[in-house]
């Protein structure tokens, strides 16, 4: 009798777990306070199987030459999918790259990828780390061969795309299905915008200052206007010319994609080469440390021969309080996206 009862209880809890899991996968959902996404869902709709396959591939070290480096090696969820503490990342064989790993976050709204926007379709982005010497140093062809020879993948591809045939397109699209679901829209700021909570007085002051001094580039709700700008931090040691390398346009020299200000608590160090380890270092640069550099953004030209943004010490406290409301603990802990 007791066994039967236990059996029923076990079954009941199992069933509940399964129901919960099925109910959890809701596909791509646009947060209420976000604009329409830019990603081409019509040619790659998100399905549970496609997403799960994409997640498995995201954490799959076989994408690298010697099967040691996966996307997740430099895009770590607890650091908002950046490379915690690394100014530039180290990839295969401890090779060093030249840029800071940007977060896999809200990419469904982005129109250009990588710091220089050299990739315009999210599906094509994984080709870069897979084939780059310092990152995974592999060829797509080898990746396809490894996946085809793997006992599990052919069936997973069949579930996701209806055929066991593993192609460049299906690998890339599966990865996109995972990436577009890496959405950060549950910060305190988002709750306030959706009228579910209110700012503290400090945060409110910070928000007002933010709108005055930062919002022209760090536009809500993505906290980037997705444009390419030179924010006056100065040319890096490696002379990285950013957007210029993609357009060969002199006026694009030293311009990089405006990063989002979401999840700064998790994503240090900052800037395209990770040169600032703290927010204070960034704000020091803007408030007192900025000098003219070729193509510095007009928004930073104070008009009197000096550059930067005036932020007093008091204002800095409020600003940081506001920026703190952009941190989304749910994003870094969301089991849906975890390895």
């Amino acid at each position: 009798m007791i066994l039967l009862l236990v059996g029923v209880l076990v079954l009941a809890s199992c069933k509940k777990e399964i129901i919960d899991k099925v109910a959890e996968f809701a596909g791509f959902h646009k947060p209420a306070n976000f604009p329409e996404p830019a990603y081409h869902f019509d040619t790659n709709p998100v399905t549970k199987e496609g997403f799960e396959l994409g997640k498995k591939l995201f954490y799959e070290p076989r994408l690298s030459r010697n099967n040691t480096i996966s996307c997740g090696s430099c895009h770590i969820q607890t650091s908002a999918f950046t490379h915690h503490g690394h100014d530039v990342s180290h990839g295969i064989d401890d090779r060093l790259g030249k840029r800071n790993a940007p977060p896999i976050m809200n990419l469904a709204w982005h129109t250009g990828f990588n710091h220089d926007g050299g990739v315009f379709d999210l599906d094509m982005q994984p080709i870069v780390p897979i084939t780059t010497f310092e990152e995974m140093d592999e060829t797509l062809e080898n990746v396809l061969q490894k996946l085809k020879a793997h006992p599990e993948y052919p069936k997973l591809f069949a579930k996701a795309f209806g055929s066991e045939a593993i192609t460049s397109a299906s690998v890339l699209k599966a990865l996109s299905q995972f990436m577009v679901l890496c959405i950060s829209a549950q910060s305190r700021y988002d709750s306030v915008m959706r009228n579910e909570a209110g700012f503290t007085a400090e945060e409110m002051q910070g928000y007002e200052l933010f709108k005055q001094k930062c919002a022209s580039c760090h536009q809500e709700p993505l906290f980037t206007d997705l444009s390419f700008r030179n924010n006056g931090i100065g040319i890096g040691f490696n002379g990285d010319a950013g957007r210029y390398e993609i357009t060969l346009n002199e006026s694009d020299k030293y311009k990089f994609k405006v990063p989002s200000l979401r999840n700064l608590k998790y994503s240090a160090p900052y800037m395209h080469d990770g040169r600032f380890y703290t927010l204070d270092a960034v704000l020091d640069k803007y408030s007192t440390g900025m000098r003219y550099v070729q193509n510095i953004d007009p928004a930073l030209d104070k008009g009197n021969g000096t550059y930067g943004i005036d932020i007093s010490n008091e204002e800095r406290v409020y600003l940081k309080a506001f920026l703190n409301t952009l941190n989304d603990e749910h994003f870094v802990k969301n089991k849906l996206l975890s390895e």
């Binding site: 081409h40 040619t43 790659n44 129109t111 250009g112 990588n114 926007g117 050299g118 990739v119 315009f120 379709d121 599906d123 094509m124 080709i127 870069v128 897979i130 084939t131 780059t132 060829t139 797509l140 062809e141 080898n142 990746v143 396809l144 192609t167 460049s168 397109a169 890339l172 699209k173 390398e245 993609i246 357009t247 060969l248 346009n249 694009d252």
Partner: protein, 265 residues
Amino acid sequence: MSAAIAGLVFFASCKKEGKEPEFNRNDLAPLSIEFDNIVGGTNLYLNSTTYTNAAGEDYAISLLQYYVSNIKVYKADGTEYVVPQDCSYFLIKEGDVASGSALVNVPEGDYSRLVFTLGVDSLRSTMDVDRRTGVLDPASGMDEGMYWGWNSGYIFFKMEGLSAAAPVDGSGQNKFRYHIGGFGGYSAPTINNIKEISIDLSQAGVAKVRKERKSNIHLMADIAKVMNGPTILSIAANPTVMFSEFSANIAANYATMFSHDHTEN
């Protein structure tokens, strides 16, 4: 009398074969366009042979590949047939017999002009990855990869080789590398090295495309022209040309390298 009849029959049948069929877009027949890579007056042999450019530098070629696409044929009266784009992408690879010709199907007819693109057009370059199949698959080729991941787009023309004039590179070789691409840019305008090539077939032999035959347009691609003009290249001055303004010079050079040698009908 029978000889005369035989003669009449003979002439009648000759005339029937030679007569151009009525142009019908639904009645397709095979046409091949052969790309014969040469260097000046001699054949191109990978690795083994040393050539000399106009700048006086000796060089050998280890790799030569280029995309041919968007093939169109024209009759003397101007009638145009455009090969459906999905069937019109070819990667010509020196050293690979199977990749030396573009095989298409066009309506039966006599064609006096051939037009093709050297490179990959901007529309295809921005299409969904599902439409990048065959030679357009970013996975195709290993070291011969013809796709730039970091600046989404195809390498239209790739030529590499060894020359004493080239400085020693990271791999310890005196190697020159020309990777020419650039479709004009997606979100911002940038270099455009897409070249449309028009070949007049009337002088050296129109292509008589018929269902029961395989017409072959034999083109010569004089690779010497890549370095020898209109802009004279010096390997020492430009051993590596990839995504840069200078690449337009090389594209302008290779746009002149095709000539029509003959047609086999």
